[in-house]
């Protein structure tokens, strides 16, 4: 059995949340007068690629990212985008993903204009929601640490606490 204390699961869950929150901070930086660091530009580029991978999944459902992190990130992004679309029925998931991936790439390349701040607002919302989702998930991992699954895969009986 892997990871009796669920630390790797906690770490990967937290890492995705931290990354989403890093995107929020980098987006803010990209819209301010301060210059973007290479690391922040890299974060924005990764965010754009993740949204493109999510878009690819909506077009070809059998296509899945090669890494566990990519799979988790696109799963969460698709869930959040579906929620966002419910509030904007005039837009489809694909339109939203395409627009956000595009503006993130422009931000990473330093190609934004002052007028683009409005286009980045839904991006901040999306990644903020991913960050919230992952914080909830981290709490769930911690509470499930006492409910470890047996090495055989047979579910263990949970404690009462």
């Amino acid at each position: 059995m892997r990871d009796l204390q669920h630390l790797e699961e906690l770490s990967s869950t937290a890492a995705l949340g931290l990354w989403a929150d890093d995107v929020v901070l980098a987006v803010d930086r990209a819209t301010s007068s301060a210059s973007l660091s290479d690391a922040q530009a890299g974060v924005l580029r990764e965010a754009s690629e993740m949204l493109e991978a999510a878009l690819e999944r909506t077009e070809h459902p059998l296509t899945t990212p090669k890494t566990a992190r990519g799979l988790a990130a696109t799963d969460t992004a698709l869930t959040v985008v579906a929620t966002l679309v419910q509030g904007q029925p005039e837009k489809s998931e694909r339109e939203l993903l395409t627009a956000m991936a595009s503006v993130l790439r422009e931000a990473a390349d330093g190609a934004l204009t002052m007028d683009d701040a409005e286009r980045l607002s839904p991006v901040m919302d999306l990644f903020g929601m991913v960050g919230e989702h992952q914080l909830i998930a981290s709490n769930s991992v911690l509470t499930s640490r006492k409910e470890a699954r047996a090495w055989t895969g047979a579910p263990a009986i949970s404690g009462s606490s």
Binding site: L4, L10, A15, S37, P61, L62, G131, L135, A148, R149
Partner: protein, 433 residues
Amino acid sequence: MDGRASDLGLLLAAARHEVEGLRDDPRLGELRGNRGTALRCHVLDLFGAVEHRMAQEPSSTAPEPVRRAFARSLRQGIHMLRGAHAALPWLAATRVPNLNLGSLYMTEECARILVGTDVDLVVVPNPEYMYATTSWPFSAVIDNTPGFTLSTTRRPIVLNYPLSDSDRLLLHPIFAHELGHASADEHGLVGTVEAELDGDPSFTAALQQTVDDIAANWTAMPKTQISGMLRGGLRDWIEELLCDHLAIEASGPAFIWAFAMFVMPLSYGEPGSEHPPNTVRMRLALDHLARRGWRPYMERVAPGVTAWLDGIAGDASSHLDIQFAFLRDQLLSHAAVLQDAAIARAGAGSLDPAASEAAGEAAGLLSRLIMPVGLGDPLEGRAILLGGWEQAFREHGDSPPGMVRALTDRRLQDLIGKAIEMSTVAAAWEPET
């Protein structure tokens, strides 16, 4: 609202408190020797990564979403710091090793074969009756801290074993399975196997069909989600099966005997989200052992037990729910891909059926209560353990209850452990010239 000045003040103070509390813990102090040092560096790297983030506090005029994002990142950091408390008893265990020394030497040999030489193996008794492992437990967070640099690249591997099993050597081939997880991670083995499957049109067609069939019944679930669920399950099952195959390469039939003793009293053909049914694992393990030439040896030293295992494997095709049936069918039909990946990884370190001769010698010595280090050159530790199982069948019976009785035979297992320890020392000994 989170992210206000008061909230950020609390979080920064709490994170500082967690880091200072952990740093002050004597269990995190400097270690003598090499064991545990990479794990200690890894924990210290986590503190560094969290502190690096703490220093990125946005100004008080930053927009609310930014302050809230910073607050969340601190909360995630505090989660990790609290999780890091689990590492303290592991570090303490490196100062007071409890595992049989012979078993520890053998496990280190398996780690070298399966994972590589640059590893820090920390073997920790567990109050729960469970074998488990973790490797680079905090790396996802550390690696995802832009601008922070790691202080160690040596892989820490923590192996948990039941406290009561510290001297039950016959079960210890399970450690090789646990090391398989670190091996799969280090060498990208799951991706290798998955790429082979993706290149097979029959796999792609079966995946498409399964997604369509599930979508027809579970109409609320989009196909992307179904596909993602199947893919995640596939990766988990591949990893577990690879670990079984790697353990077979490292330990030969001793693994399947230890595995049967550990898992069969717990479940039979029930699938888990991360683990294939034991029937399927048994079938694939027996196929692998047959391919590697172990079958005649197994039938010679334990015909009754081999027939019992065959019976379990014969139930691998029993009914499963559609998602599990897809995973089972694909992995059974691509069994050679799993075997190939394990064989290639273990390379020259695989335990060859030629070791059965040394195992026979060890069993003969054990039958006379002589420590089976070897009559000539020292016997290889893994062959001694195999011989231990051989003698266990002779002494306690070639049957499942006989295997259970063997696990309680302290004298036999003490002799095996001591012999592995002595043979390791003898093999490493270089007399002065």
